[in-house]
């Protein structure tokens, strides 16, 4: 199949690659770029394990083509920590026992990352609604809610200190 050249910025690095037009973004990330954080759980955009951030939006990369990302900025779980310092959502999931098998975690983190930018001080109900596109089979979500609350508080604290 004829390949198409795309240029995508992934975690701050420009990637110029030739891909088959039918290549799913999740396969491009996992197999072409060796970024295996995003996982495939359902192929139908229900489970959210493949969630990444594209141009400021949460996107399920299992139902998105790599060619659709030409010219876009993609952030994956591998790009969350900066200079060896965990992002607040990563810290929150660790401190609040927000993960067990870890398979849904990268998608959860990427969703929480974007959700908290849309809603920096959410209620529990808003967190549950905002995270409902991501399934977890292990935790029962209660500690995921706490993890997001932890991250929200930490991000607000950091913002306050910066201001």
């Amino acid at each position: 199949m004829a390949k198409k050249l795309i240029s995508v910025t992934v975690n701050g690095r420009v990637q110029d690659k030739a891909v088959e037009p039918r290549t799913l973004l999740v396969h491009f990330l996992r197999e072409e770029l060796n970024l295996t954080g995003a996982h495939i759980g359902c192929e139908t955009s229900h489970c959210g394990a493949c969630t990444v951030d594209i141009d400021g939006q949460s996107v399920k990369s299992c139902t998105h083509l790599a060619v659709q990302c030409d010219g876009s900025e993609v952030l994956t779980v591998e790009g969350l920590a900066q200079a060896g310092v965990l992002h607040a959502v990563q810290e929150g999931f660790y401190k609040e026992h927000g993960l067990q098998c870890g398979f849904c975690t990268p998608g959860m983190l990427m969703r929480a990352y974007r959700f908290l930018q849309h809603n920096p001080s959410p209620s529990e109900e808003e967190i549950r609604a905002g995270m409902s596109g991501n399934l977890c089979r292990c935790t029962g979500y209660q500690n995921i809610v706490k993890a997001v609350q932890y991250a929200a508080a930490k991000l607000q604290q950091t913002a306050k200190e910066a201001a």
């Binding site: 060796n34 139908t44 969350l80 026992h97 991501n134 292990c138």
Partner: protein, 801 residues
């Protein structure tokens, strides 16, 4: 002794009882987990599977021609290609055989018919589309009762003339086994003499464990060395190695099975599936690594389901509600091949725990296994073998008895509990319950939720015809049997169900423990280290735990049936104690005193009466490599294979309050209170997490999960659009509580916890939903309690708005 200093030293160990954060998390939160699909090998090929669209059909021909023309496709394998290697059928854990690739006919929809191997996964999928299979449809049997009729179609032609199965006589061509337990005559006598009897038919629907990661493997055969390495989503890698060796003829010493990070198991990853076998066959034939990763539809359709039990239960009781007898009759739909994952001698698992938490003098249960045109399986979905079915049965029956006698659910339970002083208690089915204190736990829950006030509120609502909701209160007092199991009773393929631990302590005071189990999210690397920390006095932070690699770990039977803590956890404690005993000898040598003159204290041996003279475990670690007593071997390590003397019996009291919308049938879980007693608690944070997860899976089963089939055997619901996995929106808020009744026979008193919340919560939800209709004479509603089904009951009972 300086008390604050002691406290600090104890805290520094982060041993048993500490809610230490998880060691596993660092990699998972940074996208650095290593799941099977993350593994890449040089020149790795990809395999995909051609599956049957029909539930029962003869294969008249398979044409590979077009598939082999697809760019990137290297090979297409069918049953005929596997025949020379005798790999087209494989033995199951239940003593039956299962087709690896359909041999002449297919027995269920989505059965594996052929595999395509290609240079990448897209090409393999293209190849699958191009394989032409010519089918001749055969009559389909979906209902196990229909399957047992004399003129029912013969499903398993390969078993023609076989009147004896792995578990005794077969009396019909679709009959697998009939198994029973208990004393029929005694149970019948109890019923003959009973003042009160109740009976209830209960169907426990077919469901699927559906872990978020599907099944898969990367198989790699090195033809020069003759060695096979396979990375595989397995909850029991050693058992897989044994099976692969038996099937392939390759010695176990040349097979390495590795379970890397596993994205949830819940019983789905216990079995050996055709995909694994085909990938292994393909790597042996092609000499290159082969990856196979299931998609979600394949996972739900073809790899092990759970439940599908049609149960008839009866209880006999005295006029004042004391249960005197229990009779159970089950028809079990096992699908096309008997591939239940149970200990060999127990074709219905530990279903005979169905006398529950109650002192029932006479009991009898019979289970009949039947073939149908559905996928094989019958795994323990987050439970010990068939314990979920057993607990559902007895808890529902006790509710039905309470209803008939007009007694309160709590009162009838309390009246029939096995009393604290009766432990160890031998049930009518022969289980020896190790310990329990059900009444204390029940009282604690009833007080915490103010049960009397809830009942008063319910009575007021029932009295008000304009109330827009029906209120239901569910109550369950369950006992599980886990930690399989004593090798005198339990084996898999003849291997006793022990588990193992090897600990090596390093000179500078750190250690590595290698285990026969494999975590699928239970935090073994965190909690196992805590047991060792407490036992030998080294900080858990410097204790590494490794699992899942058969080339480095001692043989173990794996992680399922809540057996990791009861069995492997005991092996850890026993191995640690061997190290501790040697360390004591070294300490005595270093301090120049007798072993008897030493006291152990947290992390050191003190000379009796003079703790200023002591040797810490860290000192001893160093000495073990340069200054041991004369005649002693150097080094500090131990291996222990633990064969448990008995199962463990965790229990719990769960209470649930629901409000059902009379207009829509929607069920709102207002409150769910879960008290669990898992004996000694190793890491309360991890325990609570496990309970949240189990309750949520229980909620999924009770309120939405099912695998419906149409008359042609089409599975109507094999994507996550149709198969219910609750999101954070539906999932209720969980309240947890505990009591601690240690197991007397377990080295650290721990019983296992991860499955109790699944086992216990499912009947609690049903109990609550049915309770909402109890005043209208309803005694049973079949799961899942979806809004539509509940609304149908509202209409039927004349209370729909």
């Amino acid at each position: 002794m300086n008390a604050p200093e002691t406290k600090e030293r104890l805290a520094a160990l982060q041993g048993m009882g500490d809610s230490r954060l998880r060691k596993e998390d660092a990699r998972f939160i940074q996208g650095k987990g290593n799941y099977v699909d993350d593994i890449k090998m040089p020149e790795m090929l990809h395999m995909d599977i051609v599956r049957s669209p029909f539930a029962h059909a003869r294969i008249k021909g398979i044409d590979k021609t077009e598939a082999l023309k697809v760019p990137g496709v290297l090979a297409v394998l069918t049953a005929d290609d596997l025949k020379p290697f005798k790999l087209h059928w494989m033995p199951t854990l239940a003593g039956d055989v299962a087709a690896v690739l359909a041999d002449e006919k297919v027995h269920f929809q989505m059965q594996e018919v052929a595999v395509v191997i290609a240079t990448d996964r897209y090409a393999a999928a293209d190849g699958v589309e191009a394989v032409q299979v010519d089918y001749e449809e055969l009559p389909v049997v979906i209902d196990p009762f229909e399957a047992l009729k004399p003129d029912a179609p013969v499903l398993r032609e390969d078993l023609a003339g076989k009147t004896e199965g792995a578990h005794g006589k077969r009396d019909h061509h679709n009959h697998i086994f009939t198994w029973d337990a208990g004393d029929k005559a005694a149970a019948d006598a109890a019923f003959d003499n009973a003042a009160v009897t109740v009976q209830q038919h209960l169907y426990y629907p077919r469901v699927h464990p559906c872990p978020l990661e599907t099944c898969g493997c990367v198989a790699s055969f090195d033809p020069v060395r003759g060695e096979l390495t396979t990375y595989l989503t397995s909850q029991a890698p050693h058992v897989v190695r044994t099976v692969v060796s038996l099937l392939s003829g390759i010695p176990e010493s040349k097979i390495r099975i590795v379970s890397p990070d596993i994205g949830g198991g819940f019983g789905n990853k216990v079995g050996v599936y055709p995909g694994y076998v085909c990938a292994i066959a393909a790597t042996i034939v092609l000499g290159k690594p082969v990856k196979w990763i299931e998609d979600r539809v394949e996972n739900i359709s073809s790899t092990a389901f759970a439940r599908d039990y049609h149960m008839d239960g009866e209880i006999a009781a005295t006029a004042d509600g004391r249960i005197t007898g229990l009779r159970v009759n089950v028809v079990a739909d096992h699908g096309a091949f008997d591939a239940c994952a149970d200990p060999t001698k127990f074709p219905a698992g530990l279903f005979h725990i169905c006398s529950g938490s109650y002192d029932i003098p006479a009991a009898y249960a019979q289970v009949k296994g039947v073939y149908t045109n559905k996928a094989p399986g019958g795994v323990a979905y987050r439970c010990s073998f068939r314990v979920t079915e057993a607990v559902y049965l007895i808890e529902r029956l006790v509710d039905v008895l309470a209803q008939k006698m007009n007694m309160d659910k709590a009162e009838i339970r309390a009246k029939n509990f096995i009393k604290k002083e009766q432990f160890p208690y031998t049930s009518a089915f022969g289980f020896e319950y190790d310990s329990g204190d059900y009444q204390t736990a029940l009282d604690k829950v009833l007080e915490a939720v103010d049960y009397k006030a809830l009942r008063a509120e319910q009575a007021a609502k029932r009295a008000d015809p304009s109330c827009p909701t029906l209120m239901g209160i569910g109550l369950v007092s369950f006992t599980e049997v886990v930690g399989a199991g004593p090798s005198k009773m339990c084996d898999i393929l003849g291997v006793g169900m022990f588990d193992s631990c090897e600990i090596r302590v390093h000179p500078t005071g750190s250690a590595i423990a290698r285990m026969g189990t494999i975590s699928t999210g239970q935090a073994h690397a965190t909690t196992y280290a805590q047991i060792i920390a407490t036992e030998i006095g080294l900080p858990s932070e410097v204790i590494q735990v490794e699992e899942g690699d058969t080339s480095t770990a001692p043989y173990g039977l794996g992680t399922y049936g809540s057996r990791s803590t009861p069995v492997a956890g005991a092996a850890i404690a026993m191995a640690s104690r061997k190290i501790h005993a040697k360390a004591r000898k070294i300490a005595a040598h270093l301090l120049e005193v007798s072993e008897n003159d030493l006291d152990w204290e947290i992390d050191r041996f003190n000379v009796k009466g003079d703790p200023s003279k002591h040797k810490t475990m860290k000192d001893i670690c160093w000495a073990a490599y340069n200054n041991v007593p004369p005649g002693m071997e150097m080094g500090l390590e131990a291996v222990h294979y633990y064969d448990p003397p008995n199962f463990t019996y965790p229990f719990g009291i769960y209470l649930c309050v629901v409000d059902i919308d009379r207009g829509t049938g929607e069920t709102q879980v207002r409150r769910f209170y879960a008290l669990d007693d898992c004996g000694t608690r190793i890491n309360p944070m991890v325990i609570e997490g496990q309970i949240h997860g189990g309750l949520t899976e229980g909620y999924a089963v009770a309120m939405g999960q099912q695998m419906p089939f149409d008359a042609q055997g089409n599975l109507q619901g094999n994507t996550l659009m149709d198969y219910f996995l609750p999101t954070s929106v539906e999932t209720p808020h969980w309240e947890t509580d505990h009591t601690v009744t240690p197991s007397p026979h377990h080295p650290i008193g721990a019983k296992g916890v991860a499955e109790s919340p699944h086992v216990g919560s499912i009947p609690t939800f049903t109990s609550a939903v049915v309770d909402a209709f109890a005043h209208l004479g309803v005694t049973d509603m079949t799961m899942p309690h979806t809004s539509y089904r509940v609304w149908q009951q509202l209409v039927k009972s004349g209370v729909a708005l």
